[in-house]
Symmetry: C2
Subunit: 234 residues, 2 copies
DNA sequence: GACAATTTGGACAAGGATGTCTAATTTTTT
DNA sequence: AAAAAATTAGACATCCTTGTCCAAATTGTC
């Protein structure tokens, strides 16, 4: 028996198999609160005591998990980047490769993109933190850009090129078209973003509709127009 | 010799212009430095000593001119807003109302807009300060928005409507078109803006060209295409 | 040149924030 | 139940910043 147990569970001291559940929960809670406070107050204005209070932990726990303020900030941005990128690529996977009604399908895609990627918590926070602190942390900025927007653009460009190849669109430069696609998708939301607010569902719908109609006016082919000759007014 | 020198540099000395020579110069220098520091470090991170040093005055002089940090910040934003709006409307006045070559004329206008309004010092600073602190100073934000972007949009919409009426464009909703015009004009510059940099002349040209070609593909009439059937590749 | 306003540098108090330390307490694992 | 790990509250030293005060020096005006 003794032999069995020692064999099955080697005496190599219980490897840090599973750290407490409450431990990771607190870590997440700290990152969450820190994201909110850094975003609201900026790096210099953020107060560790406030972060601790908002996370529901003691200040010492914050220091135990992440060494100092800078390290905490970097952890926050990396966490946001990771989750945001996951959301972006999940949404990109829903791009309408074989559209039945290209206008309706692109509008729906656009709304998913806006709702799940640019209007949500991670998107809002990242946008603000990057704008405010990218010069102080250039490597964080590069990380985010290379793993996020840069890939998004080329992935979207590939999707658009495929649609063009299938005859739905008439595109010279897919990379330019991809940037314009995104610019048009958000054209009506800029002021709300600047204010730090979250657009209503109606605003997201109207921005996506206006944007995609303009995009299709620019890049749609006869095939699109034939299928959808007279879009209804908003 | 003595006569010569005194004659060449007349004794008329700078005309006795009441109080301010060095006074107003110092005030401007302080606003300038404060704008730069607030923008770089954020409100909380900005240091009055640093502002004073960068302005080349003593700290006490900063306090003499503008009471405290908050008042200084508001003065900076109001100053930037005023100068930025002046630039925007001066540029709007150069909109091509009777274009000879609509594509070339719109591209040129776009470049003026980007160069003089969004890429310049005031534009860059205002964008960052608004994004960072608009929630802390909502009344400053409203002031800027109502006297700047809101008027810009409607003014641009009116110009576009006029072009449409003259047969150059085919536009349903001029307000939507105006927002899309601006979105397309800057579509290629977003990443540079986010990084806090200033786009090169080549980037501004390429962004304006790509943006206006897309805009005209969406909203141009046969009249445009007839005049400019085959735009050269970039 | 005399006079008034402005600027300067430095000292200073008050307050706030960071990060460390410790002893007590709670939670988790064995 | 006991041992180990994590958390807590609080005190604390240290540093930084804001905003004030003041005497001396500078500038510009009459």
């Amino acid at each position: 028996m003794d032999f069995m147990t020692t064999a099955i569970v080697p005496d190599t001291l219980p490897p840090p198999v599973s750290l407490p559940r409450g431990h990771e929960a607190k870590r997440a809670s700290i990152l969450d609160a820190a994201g909110s406070v850094f975003c609201r107050e900026g790096f210099a204005g953020a107060n560790i005591d406030l972060i601790a209070a908002e996370a529901g932990v003691s200040r010492q726990t914050v220091y135990n998990h992440h060494g100092d303020k800078q390290t905490l900030f970097q952890a926050v941005v990396r966490d946001l980047t990771e989750r945001s990128n996951a959301g972006v690529f999940a949404t990109l996977a829903t791009f309408p490769d074989q559209p039945k009604d290209i206008e309706a399908d692109l509008i729906a895609f656009c709304m998913r993109l806006n709702r799940n990627c640019v209007c949500n918590r991670e998107g809002k926070f990242l946008r603000k933190l990057m704008q405010a602190e990218s010069e102080r942390y250039p490597e964080l900025f590069s990380e985010w850009r290379d793993h996020g927007p840069a890939k998004t653009w080329s992935a979207l460009a590939a999707r658009l090129a495929r649609l063009a190849h299938a005859g739905y669109l008439d595109i010279d430069d897919p990379d330019v078209a991809a940037r314009q696609f995104l610019a048009l998708a958000n054209a009506d939301l800029h002021m709300t973003f600047l204010l730090g607010g979250t657009p209503s569902e109606a605003e997201v719908l109207s921005s996506a509709t206006n944007g995609m109609r303009a995009f299709l006016r620019a890049y749609g082919t006869a095939r699109c127009v034939a299928e959808k000759p007279q879009p209804a007014a908003v």
